[in-house]
Amino acid sequence: MAIEKMKLIGIIGKITQVNKILRLIILSGSMHVINSLTKVSSNDFVLPPNEENIKALEEVPFLKPYTSRRDFSREEEVVRSLLDIFDLNPAIKPEYFDQDYEFDDFMKQIFEIHSAVHSIAESIEAKKRTIEQKRVYINNLRYLENYKFNIGKLSKMHFLSFKLIKLSKENYMKLKKNYENIPAVVLKIADEGKNVVVASITPKSLDETVERIFSSLNFTELPLPEDFDGTSKAAIKHLEASINEDNSAIDSMLKSIEDFRTKYSHEIEKAYARLEMEKKVEEVKTNLAIGKNLFFMFGFVPASYVDKLKSSLKGTFGEDIIIIIEDAEKKTPGITPPTKLNNIALIRPFEEMVKMYGVPSYNEKDPTLFFALSYLLLFGAMFGDVGQGLVLFLSGLLIKYLTSKTVFGGVLASIGLSSTIFGFLYGSVFGSEEVIPALLVRPMANINFMLAGAVALGIVLTIFGFIYNIINSYIDRNLEDGIFSRNGVTGLVFYILLIYAVYSYAVGTGVLSPAIPISLVVLILLMVFKQPLAGRLMGTGIHFKESPVDYYVEEGFGALETVLSAMSNTISFIRVGAFALNHVGLYIAFDTMAEMASSGIASYLLLVLGNVVIICLEGLIVFIQALRLEYYELFSKYFRGDGVEYEPVKIRLTHKPLRGKNLIKRFIGLDYAI
């Protein structure tokens, strides 16, 4: 329930084995690779000088980055076209990488398959093209089907030329209106809406003129088969027969492709998977440091995976590989350990919402738990309703299990649940307050309580924010931030005193003791002088990051801002109460309209509509408002979010659909059936 511990692992192996080693690492999917040269050249890189390491030590001065990036475009093209021809769905399964293989040797065999299959595929394509051509002829001949003359004779006339052409309707109208000037017989044969098909007969000597005129009308000539003797009907019959012949030829070729498919489909799938793997390997290689015979790589691995990775590497490569394991806490400039959040399943979806703001750094305290709980509290308080909450909850579950948006579904289900709980506290079901009693309070009847309660909640949450920052600063050993800053101990005391002062002034419990204003001023002074104070205490001397004048001007205004923001941050939480009221108010508006409606059905429909509007519109607003309170009022206090996300190199394996998911689908299907 926090940020997972990391180990820094170094691997030194033979260059001849680099691909195999990387394959294993990628399959394990647990290493966040970092730039190895940065690590090797940093001064905390030590390799104990013993016999085992002697070869590696010799190479250290000669290490250089891996630069020659391999181009896989030919392999990719071949694999793609084979997948296409065989109509296979590419899949990546771990067993494809089980045996020991050399990628290039393996690909040679794939290339051979490809060249055999490719020529067949080509001739199928060629046949298909001739069929296409014949279809075009048939289509064109159909226009002449009703005429019982020999089309062969028509196209072989000596002095006249016959043509079938297509024109757009606009252009046909132009032709028609100027028909008396056209040196051709033009006969409209078919009208196809946008286009018109006409036959034209011209003396051969005027062919060119007519062609130019038709060109200016943007004509398309419809080709007819040459060398055919007989009517259009007969020609169509003949063509159809030859298409059938072609088709059976294609079938037999497809058959032989099918044979190839059954024989090699497994190999092709494997080729795809291995190619993807090789591309990944190439990507990882850019982070390696390469020597003469050895390569060095470094990466972070979660502590719980270290043994597994180590034993599988040692098991496969034995003495050929040197593995170094270091603690991630050791600080190397330029190398930040990645953050892997590890929370219980229930609040895991909220990790994404934290990451929207920033990834927690490795040393920071994971804020997800606090974030999730406070977010649920805020959302529920603003949107408390049993019915509407359940709608959110159920739709969250549906989204989570039926689509791939598990994060969104998870969040939605959680906030729905929280809303339901608050619904019971407020005694509200789909807006109506008459169905169940309120366990805690009816918002509309106790407006002052709601608003004051919201502010009180805000104060509590803000104090938690302070505590988080103090813990984080302690972990970081940051005295300045933890003790003296406005978000540290000083700030916390100042905040509590200020709230107390304002409270007693507002309630009017008499005169404030003079100690309070004095201590407030002292605390402010502490905050202004935080850097020199911390410097003195730590014994590092007084160092200003910028010039002292700038520092004091900035901190002077900072003090003013502290006072203002302490108040505004707190009052900001009043919106929690306001939205709870707003929620009821919106329903009342629809309820009133429903009462005014004349018929029962209309009022029922209005209530349904009201609920839909409230769930969609107000739900969204409250979702955003709660997020705003979290990010702006709380995260700005204690959360830095400048970490690096843990991104292990891995290859996405294709899984079979999970049984659990099917079960739920079936379960829901059953539900609908009932």
Binding site: K174, N178, T209, L217
Partner: protein, 347 residues
């Protein structure tokens, strides 16, 4: 829909954009500049174009880059109008803008034909793919006209250019004609979907445009290209204000230029053919100047109508044309008085 709801907002936008048009004084001073760089500098220092030329070094500007900058600005401004329309009006406006896209397509086709596409750097054809479904990526990759035509597949132009793919007609002339015909045909179809009042106004304006271009086409076809009357007629735009189909046919079958000239005068378009010897080079300018005044009149007469957007578009085009003309005149060392005669705007 209520005219006010449809046009009030866009008209306000147009007024605001029109505030950036150059004034007469600007033109007079631009004509006095001695080099393209000075011209760019003047635009940058003294005119509303300063926003546009803000981070451009005037000394590095040549005619082509200047034109490209101005055209890109035009794309931006036209886009602004588009946001105010939806449905058939938006379609119409896009169809209207296709004119500029087709201009770019034709330029590209010309460059492909002349094998001079290498200076892509200078002429990135800003408009291609902006308003039509043309994929600029595909079109720009084309090396032959055939590839160019095939690259238009899927766009609204493809129906018009597809018939050219018979192996004989893949030439520049046919292609340009087909694209032009496509423009007017698409424009006509989309204008027919406007509401009645706007449809009438568009018919009047586009009819006038077609009259002028048809006359110009027939004149040029007869004088320079020796085309047959049938071909001339087939390539005319199928719209018209004073010139209907039968008048158009008469014009095409006129026996000589004298007769054509007389017929044009009877139709009230005699100004296109003034007696001067050099008349032809001014013909384009005369058409534009005539349209400029007609548009001014129309947009005054119909304040709440689509003509406002049309007029803005056209005025913006005229302004850019004039700036480019000035740039060209400067380059060929023409005196300001001489150059002034090539401008659409009367100074």
């Amino acid at each position: 829909m209520d005219r006010v709801t449809r046009f009030a907002a866009v008209n306000t936008k147009i007024r605001a954009l029109e505030g950036d048009f150059l004034k007469n004084q600007h033109y007079v001073e631009m004509l006095r500049q001695k080099s393209i760089q000075e011209l760019a500098g003047y635009l940058k220092e003294n005119t509303p174009y300063r926003k546009l030329l803000g981070d451009i070094n005037p000394d590095a500007v040549n005619r082509a880059t200047l034109e490209e900058i101005l055209r890109r600005n035009m794309v931006n401004n036209l886009d602004k109008l588009l946001y105010f329309f939806y449905g058939t009006y938006r379609e119409f406006l896009k169809a209207l803008y296709l004119k500029y896209e087709i201009e770019d397509l034709k330029n590209l086709a010309r460059d492909i034909y002349n094998n001079s596409k290498s200076d892509l750097e200078n002429r990135p054809y800003s408009f291609i793919g902006k308003y039509s479904k043309v994929s600029s990526e595909h079109v720009l990759k084309a090396v032959t006209l055939r590839e160019f035509i095939l690259a238009l597949e899927g766009s609204e132009f493809y129906d018009y250019v597809e018939p050219l793919l018979d192996g004989k007609r893949e030439n520049l002339f046919r292609l340009e004609m087909a694209l032009d015909m496509a423009y007017f045909s698409i424009l006509k179809k989309s204008s027919e979907k406007l509401e009645k009042g706007d449809r009438k106004i568009v018919e009047e304006y586009e009819g006038m445009v077609s009259d002028l271009y048809n006359l110009q086409w027939i004149y040029r076809g007869k004088k320079y290209y020796m085309l047959s009357p049938e071909e001339l007629l087939n390539y005319t735009i199928d719209m018209g204000n004073r010139i209907n189909f039968f008048k158009r046919r008469q014009l095409c079958y006129s026996r000589n230029l004298e007769e054509l000239n007389n017929m044009a005068r009877e139709l009230g378009y005699g100004f296109l053919f003034k007696k001067e010897e050099t008349g032809d080079i001014y013909m384009e300018r005369r058409i534009n100047r005539f349209l400029y005044y007609r548009l001014r009149a129309l947009s005054k007469r119909y304040p709440m109508s689509i003509i406002q957007a049309i007029a803005y578009t056209q005025f913006l085009e005229f302004e850019i044309r004039d700036i480019i003309s000035i740039a060209e005149c400067i380059r060929y060392n023409l005196s300001p008085e001489e150059s002034g005669r090539f401008l659409i705007r009367v100074l």
